[in-house]
């Protein structure tokens, strides 16, 4: 097999057979002999101080083996975010494993380990906690006011972080504008809805070494954060990579209470401890942050943007966690970078409230920014009678321009305009009708949402890890074992890595097996996040395979009496270039390398081959990618709005995306189709709802938290992949996964406007909001 036969082909997933027959590899299925089961007692109050905790009755319950309260756990403050070093300046370390102060309803206050889950649950009921309730604040802008309850002593006005950027002269830019547009755009709190719950099994051995099996997206982050929170050396923690996990989407990018509490319980008791979250616990563990964006844009009559000013208020809940990073990504990539404009100013506020803490979610601050920026562009175009595609082209970055994130890089591959043009043609953009002009009660509309600048990983971000590695070992049967720390969330990292390794080695993808890995045995890998796996880990896998191949050809060259430079590997055989008859199977070369140095020939002992041929043929890499190339995206949607019921139906989606090069078309389409489901949910129905008085989560199961089912999804989702061949990427590839989630809300908002002539600037666009906007409620 050559690269051309592997890259760009819809190779079947190596893990699919296992998954359709039961899927034993999920962390939720993992167990150890003698394992105990842990459960967590959570606060019913959104803000309170614990006066006392009495665990004496719970301790008496047969089967209870250990109980933790804030008195029994280290009070070391940490940030749970995986992808930054624990001591990073940009993080806010404001959490402890268990505290005597609770700041949101559902915060853990005690943990129990028992022989069964039922006993652990019973024990929770026997723990008596005496709380002193404290005043609460749930609205971030109220939290910033003088006199609001203060959640953290070292955060005046409840502001955990306050980044700001300024380019050019905004006042001058607004003075040059013919028109100034101002708007406020509000997004809601949504959950990633990974289907496999967060779960862990922690085993502390007699020497005090911790081994973790967990459903998280990053094995190295889990090792580092656990060691930090427990205040122990990192080398005392091993995290085992699961064969696969049941989804993540950014929702498993931080250490949870469960891993830390299970670890302490396991150490205290001397037995493995398992903790699995209920769906209610998952719903209050992680969410995309609501952000309110105040956006002001100055434009000339011809549509040139002269100035942009924005202020973003992010509700981070009880702790800063990801809110400390999301706000920056939102400000840069969501609001500031997408369009060229010399005069820009942005300020962001990460604000503490008594709401649940936020987390990672595909897009990481960008969907909130995109909804504001793209919605306002639609308003500008409507008001000034400009074509939304032409407006975007006028203000867009061009191929070859300096990258707005780092002017030392250029947009070497950049298919933004092509994405818009191809998508427009497919959706029938030129036939789009004026807003609200449809007849009848059910009105159709077409809308566009785009994202011109985004990432392929985290190269260039201060404090964020971006290096990765892999190991490739060749076997005597001609196959290869590939080991890397990259966790497959479901999005196909296993398939992509085996394809890239196979293409580089010159063997069939089914002859590459992704093998065991843990934090002891493979090079560091940054998390599977930030659209980085194909570009960054793909580069590392390619480099490790190239290293193994170099060693293979050196030995083969000796055997075949040829220079390694004159050799190639085709279909699993080493050949002298241009002479297929010279073929020697890879396995035969490996056999020479792996055989004993001295062999018994029956007539005496003889060397089997020279010493320099001996040794396992293994390739290794650990590297940082050279750049951070930007993908570019345009989504076109057609909706139908029922003006009697307010219901919005998405009928059709055309999604065009410049991803450099498609590694696996079927997997790439799957990413898009799933991303669009998450985007439609965000746009139209998903919302974590909380009791206004108590802060308790009211949408804590899938009966109350609505996400699109197969019935609500559009019947047509078309993916158009623009291949611009990114020079720095593996086989030309850059990123795909997050923009299909980012753009739907803006596109759907624009399509709803096109259908009914009314704009909704607060997500989700529910039937109630549509009817209210139409004056029918």
């Amino acid at each position: 097999m050559s690269a051309a036969n592997i890259i760009g082909k819809s190779v079947l997933r190596p893990d699919a057979h296992d998954k359709v027959t039961g899927g034993r590899g999920y962390p939720v299925n993992f167990s150890l002999p003698g394992m105990l089961h842990g459960k967590i007692l959570r606060s019913p109050y959104a803000h309170a101080r614990i006066i006392s905790i009495d665990t004496s009755e719970a301790e008496k319950l047969p089967g209870v083996k250990g109980i933790l309260t804030h008195k029994e756990v280290p009070q070391k403050r940490f940030s749970p975010v995986f992808f930054c070093p624990t001591g990073a300046k940009s993080l806010v370390r404001d959490m402890v494993a268990l505290s005597d102060r609770v700041r949101y309803a559902g915060q853990p206050v005690a943990a129990v380990a028992a022989t069964t889950e039922a006993i652990a649950e019973k024990a929770l009921e026997l723990i008596d906690v005496d709380y002193e309730e404290l005043p609460t604040v749930f609205d971030p802008e109220e939290a910033m006011q003088e006199g609001a309850p203060q959640l953290h002593e070292d955060a005046p006005d409840n502001v955990a972080k306050n980044p700001a950027f300024e380019f050019g002269d905004v006042e001058k830019g607004f003075a040059e504008a013919d028109h100034i547009f101002e708007g406020v755009y509000q997004t809601q709190r949504v959950h990633t809805c990974y289907m496999e719950p967060r779960v862990c099994v922690v085993d502390c051995d007699k020497q005090g070494h911790f081994t973790l099996h967990s459903s998280m997206q990053h094995i190295f982050g889990l090792r580092e954060k656990l060691a930090y929170a427990l205040d122990i050396a990192e080398s005392r923690v091993t995290v085992v990579k699961p064969p696969y996990i049941g989804g993540g989407f950014g929702g498993k990018l931080d250490i949870g209470y469960i891993e830390i509490l299970a670890a302490i319980l396991s150490e205290n008791i001397g037995r493995p401890v398992r903790m699995e979250q209920t769906r209610y616990e998952d719903f209050i563990t992680t969410a995309r942050h609501p952000i309110k964006v105040y956006l002001k844009t100055g434009v000339k009559k011809d549509g040139t943007i002269t100035a942009r000013e924005a202020r973003s208020i992010l509700d981070t809940g009880a702790h800063a966690t990801h809110g400390a990073e999301v706000i920056v990504v939102h400000g840069l990539f969501g609001v500031t970078f997408p369009y060229k404009c010399e005069n820009k100013k942005w300020e962001g506020f990460t604000v503490y409230t008594n709401n649940m803490i936020g987390g990672g979610f595909r897009g990481y601050g960008c969907p909130q920014g995109c909804f504001a920026v793209e919605s306002q562009i639609d308003e500008i175009c409507e008001e000034l009678d400009l074509d939304p595609i032409e407006f975007r082209k006028k203000n867009a970055h061009q191929k070859g321009d300096p990258h707005p994130f780092n002017p030392a890089w250029s947009l070497n591959s950049y298919g933004y305009e092509e994405a818009m043009d191809k998508g427009a043609e497919r959706i029938g953009w030129s036939d789009r009708k004026p807003a609200g002009s449809g007849e009848g009660t059910k009105k159709r509309g077409i809308g566009i949402g785009t994202q011109g600048i985004w990432v392929s990983g985290c190269m260039g971000f201060p404090d964020i890890y971006e290096h990765t590695g892999a190991l490739v070992k060749l076997n005597v049967d001609g196959t290869a074992d590939l080991a890397s720390g990259t966790v497959d969330l479901g999005s196909g990292q296993i398939t992509m890595q085996t394809q890239i390794a196979a293409a580089e080695l010159g063997i069939a993808p089914e002859n590459v097996r992704l093998s065991y890995a843990d934090t002891d045995t493979v090079p560091f890998d940054a998390p599977t996040h930030a659209s980085r796996a194909t570009y960054s880990s793909g580069l590392a896998v390619k480099a490790a395979a190239a290293d193994a191949k170099r060693k293979l050809l050196a030995i083969a060259g000796d055997i075949m009496e040829a220079s390694p430079d004159d050799l190639e590997v085709v279909d699993g055989e080493v050949r002298i270039k241009g002479s297929p008859d010279s073929a020697m199977p890879i396995g035969q070369v490996v056999q020479v390398a792996e055989s004993p140095f001295i062999v018994d020939t029956g007539e005496g002992y003889e060397p089997s081959s020279p010493p320099q041929h001996k040794g396992t043929i293994i390739g290794a890499s650990s590297l940082a990618p050279p750049e951070n190339p930007s993908p570019a995206t345009a989504l076109f949607v057609e909706v139908e709005v029922d003006t009697e019921t307010g219901e919005v139906k998405v009928l059709r989606c055309v999604y065009a995306h410049d991803l450099g090069k498609v590694i696996n078309p079927n997997a790439a389409e799957g990413q898009v189709e799933g991303g669009i489901q998450q985007g439609i949910g965000y746009a139209l129905m998903e919302n974590l709802v909380f009791d206004e008085d108590t802060g308790a989560c009211l949408s804590s199961d899938f009966l109350d938290y609505k996400m699109p089912t197969a019935v609500e999804m559009p019947r047509e989702i078309e993916s158009i992949f623009i291949e611009t061949n990114e020079p720095s990427g593996p086989f030309g590839a850059k990123s795909l996964s997050e923009q299909c989630v980012t753009v739907p809300a803006a596109a759907i908002g624009a399509a709803v406007y096109n259908a009914i002539g009314v704009r909704i600037k607060e997500l989700p666009i529910t039937p109630e909001k549509v009817l209210r906007a139409l004056g029918k409620l």
Binding site: Y244, G246, S491, E673, G674, T709, A710
Partner: protein, 160 residues
């Protein structure tokens, strides 16, 4: 106090001592090690634990194991014959309908009931048949394709 029950699962009789309040999901996973049936929500809303009782797709998380004695219970492990995968399992692999795969087994069980009752379903019938199974990875597009593919393959198999 545990009670003795006899459950017919995938054609085999299992005698078990279980708690009267144990759900079928718990018994399948924890007493029998049939891990293909997943716990996704425990509130009968996600569909990850879909199994068959007498050929009908049911959420195992809301069925007491005590209550289904005498019924024929089929889990994902019971699909396929003579070491071969069920056509639905093959189609899910072939169509790329599997991503994280956590919903897959439940999804296949719902689709199986559909194809048992309607060998040639249209797209709307397929979508409604899996409306009780949530998936967060695929947007359902390739799942719908897979079910259609399995139906087509089944019809071809009959005609040949």
């Amino acid at each position: 106090m545990k009670q003795l029950v006899t459950l017919n699962i995938n054609g085999e009789q299992h005698e078990l001592a279980i708690s009267p309040d144990a759900t079928l999901l718990t018994v399948l996973r924890e007493d029998l090690g049939l891990l293909g049936t997943k716990r996704g929500c425990d509130t009968s809303a996600c569909g990850c634990c879909t199994i068959h009782i007498d050929g009908k797709a049911v959420y195992a998380c809301v069925v007491y194991a005590m209550s289904v004695q005498g019924g024929e219970i089929t889990t994902i492990e019971g699909l396929g014959e003579n070491g071969k995968l069920d056509p639905l399992q093959d189609a899910f692999i072939e169509a790329g309908a599997v991503q994280c795969g956590y919903c897959t087994c439940g999804m296949i069980m719902s689709a199986k009931q559909l194809l048992n009752e309607e060998p040639n379903p249209d797209e709307e019938q397929i979508r409604h048949a899996i409306a009780g199974n949530l998936c967060r990875c695929t947007g359902y597009a390739k799942i719908v394709d897979a079910i259609k593919m399995a139906a087509d393959n089944g019809l071809k198999g009959q005609s040949s």
